[in-house]
């Protein structure tokens, strides 16, 4: 265990992350609406020691009821439309919707038209657009961090 922690310390040192700015937070709920899974990999990677998005107060939360932002990947299949809208409905106001990746933005290799209900902005108001196939963890981090001031309201914790 000691070796492991020392190893992590070294990784951390080498990453030389810039200091966090301000004390704010944002709770994110992710919904996969038909991605190829690479967008999920990159979203998960934002928690890796080289990015460590959590130090900015960003957290992936387990329920849409706890979320400020609904982060959606994939072109929105007909089979995920219902679950996606249910997740959005469950969120408290103010809420924001982010489209993660080209699929969610309606471009790229999507699939057969009959199987798709998207793109996302046909179904929900999209506030944050993160293009890329997939966007890199840094691009995801930057886009979400940029959104923080806009998504804070006086009443939010």
């Amino acid at each position: 265990m000691f070796v492991l922690l020392r190893h992590l310390q070294r990784v951390r040192r080498e990453a030389a992350l810039p200091p966090r700015r301000g004390a704010r937070s944002l709770a994110i709920r992710h919904v996969d609406a038909g991605s190829c899974n690479a967008c999920e990999h990159e979203l998960t990677a934002t928690a890796a020691p080289q990015y460590d998005l959590q130090r900015f107060g960003l957290d992936i939360v387990a329920s849409p009821r706890h979320a400020d932002v609904l982060l959606v990947t994939g072109p929105v299949t007909t089979r995920m439309e219902g679950a996606l809208l249910a997740a959005y409905e469950a969120m408290p106001e103010p809420r924001r919707v982010a489209a993660l990746g080209d699929c969610a933005l309606g471009c790229g290799v999507l699939g057969a038209a009959a199987e798709l209900a998207g793109p996302l902005d046909r179904l929900l108001p999209v506030d944050i657009r993160i293009p890329g196939c997939p966007p890199t963890p840094q691009e995801i981090a930057d886009a979400i961090l940029d959104a923080i001031p806009a998504s804070q309201s006086p009443g939010s914790p």
Binding site: A33, E40, P49, A112
Partner: protein
């Protein structure tokens, strides 16, 4: 590790034999294949309502036999009693193509989401039995899928999985396109197996076009496939650490994976290696300086990965959480047609890399196994850790010489139907394509994940419900390429 190439196949590609079978002899023909020791590796429907056809694939070393029969009035006899691994294939063909399989009773819905719960779940009854439904949206960053656990207390008696929430109709969307253009659809079926899918598609395509991969093409593709395996295995070991709440192990592997991703970007221009494999050509150029530098970086990564793995392997509290959980015994693995690390952890020796003359694995390449073939979470993790070693070996060997761009040689015979089998980080992926004048008539992709989902359900039974996320992560199957 420069070893002589395997000389088993005369050509540097897998062999394909297309065999027409009378409907009345369907079961008998399939039974004969299985009796001769061939391994079922997928089935698919093709044609339209007027001329429906049904094909089953059997793997025999580096060659594949495709048995095809005409389907009368959308009905034909099942083979699930002969080979349980065909279960999902038949269920899918029913839902997507309207085929009915006599003797497959009950034929539960798989892709069709319009039916009642009773139409796709197994009835489990008894005192205190109840169902727990989870998904399609999960608590973490996880792909969408629905699980229905039949439990008593916290004990899982049976698990019914309902996937295909992510069904995008990619195979259909590819149909009608020119052969080389279809590759992007196969590749986008799955981010984490993008190289495998693209190489499988390219190889299947080349066999109908009469193209043979050159030495450079084979080396480049093998390099890409092993780079894909590298980041996946690092990711999957880390994910299992997360599954037991071992945060430092999870983070250490996440950092190692990130290094592998950055290396991918440097070598092939994309972190997931998208666009790096194509039909009939390879554009990958690694001059000796870059190859040498990469070799050095990989050696460092190898050392660090080994050090971190040792910490996981020899931490008593970690191992106590992994042993005996989610056991898939050897017989079940074989019966259900499990593939890849999951199959090898249960004691099956199958690894399609040994049967890939179109790639660049040495003749003495052998599937890595765990220390004990216990088929539990611990064994599945160990297989990945030992496979990392062989992946580093293969990469080191490939990078000992520069890699140049090249095109395939047009000197091979044209196969009537394109088939390729490629070992992904999750097991054997099979790509089949049929064409009309070089336009795709049918594309079928059966990935390692597709083959393994029934095995995951089997391994979960008898375990505690709170252990399911860990068992799930130890298989680390994709939903994207199953749903397509």
């Amino acid at each position: 590790m420069s070893r002589p190439r395997r000389l088993r196949a005369a050509e540097p590609r897998q062999g394909v034999a297309a065999i027409e079978v009378e409907g009345s002899r369907w079961r008998e023909s399939c039974r004969r294949e299985l009796g001769d020791g061939a391994r079922f590796c997928g089935a698919y429907a093709s044609g339209d309502r007027l001329a429906r056809r049904w094909s089953a694939l059997f793997a025999d070393g580096p060659s594949t036999r495709v048995l095809t029969t005409r389907v009368d009035r959308d009905q034909l006899p099942t083979i699930v009693d002969l080979v349980a691994a065909a279960q999902w294939d038949e269920r899918e063909a029913h839902d997507l193509h309207g085929l009915r399989f006599e003797g497959h009773e009950p034929l539960r819905a798989l892709v069709d989401h319009t039916v009642d719960t009773a139409a796709w779940t197994t009835p489990v009854e008894g005192r205190g039995v109840h169902q727990v439904a989870v998904g399609p949206v999960h608590a973490g960053v996880i792909e969408s899928g629905h699980f229905r656990f039949h439990v008593v207390g916290e004990r899982i008696l049976h698990l019914d999985t309902r996937l295909f929430y992510k069904h995008r109709g990619l195979e259909r969307a590819a149909e009608g396109r020119e052969l080389p253009d279809g590759l992007r659809f196969a590749q986008r079926a799955c981010g984490a197996c993008a190289v495998t899918n693209a190489v499988a598609y390219a190889q299947a395509c080349e066999s109908v076009l009469g193209l043979l991969p050159t030495r450079e093409l084979r080396r480049a593709r093998t390099l890409l496939l092993e780079l894909e395996r590298l980041y996946n295995h690092l990711n999957d070991i880390g994910a299992a650490c997360a599954g037991i709440g071992f945060a430092s192990g999870n983070m250490a592997f996440a950092a190692l994976k990130e290094r592998a991703m950055r290396l991918n970007k440097e070598l092939a221009g994309h972190r997931f290696l998208f666009g790096s494999a194509e039909v009939g050509a390879s554009r990958l150029v690694l001059a000796s300086q870059l190859a040498g530098r990469t070799r050095g970086q990989l050696r460092e990564l190898r050392q660090d990965a080994a050090q971190v793995w040792r910490e996981v392997r020899f931490s008593g509290s970690v191992q106590a959480r992994l042993g005996g959980v989610g056991v898939l015994d050897r017989d079940s693995a074989a019966r259900l047609g499990a593939v890849g690390p999951a199959a090898r952890a249960s004691g099956l020796e199958q690894d399609t890399r040994s049967d890939s003359p179109g790639l660049w694995y040495g003749s003495s390449f052998a599937a890595a196994g765990p220390e004990a073939r216990t088929g539990d979470v611990s064994a599945r993790l160990q297989v990945r850790a030992s496979e990392l070693e062989s992946t580093f070996e293969v990469l080191d060997d490939l990078l000992s010489a520069p890699i140049a761009a090249d095109i395939a040689s047009p000197s091979g015979p044209k196969a009537p139907i394109g088939v390729a089998r490629v070992e992904s980080p999750r097991g054997e992926t099979v790509c089949v394509l049929e064409h009309d004048l070089f336009r795709l008539r049918r594309l079928h992709l059966r990935t390692g994940s597709y083959a393994n989902w029934p095995a995951l359900a089997e391994a979960s039974a008898r375990n505690l419900l709170p252990d399911f996320p860990l068992i799930n992560k130890s298989f680390e199957l994709c939903y994207a390429c199953v749903d397509r």
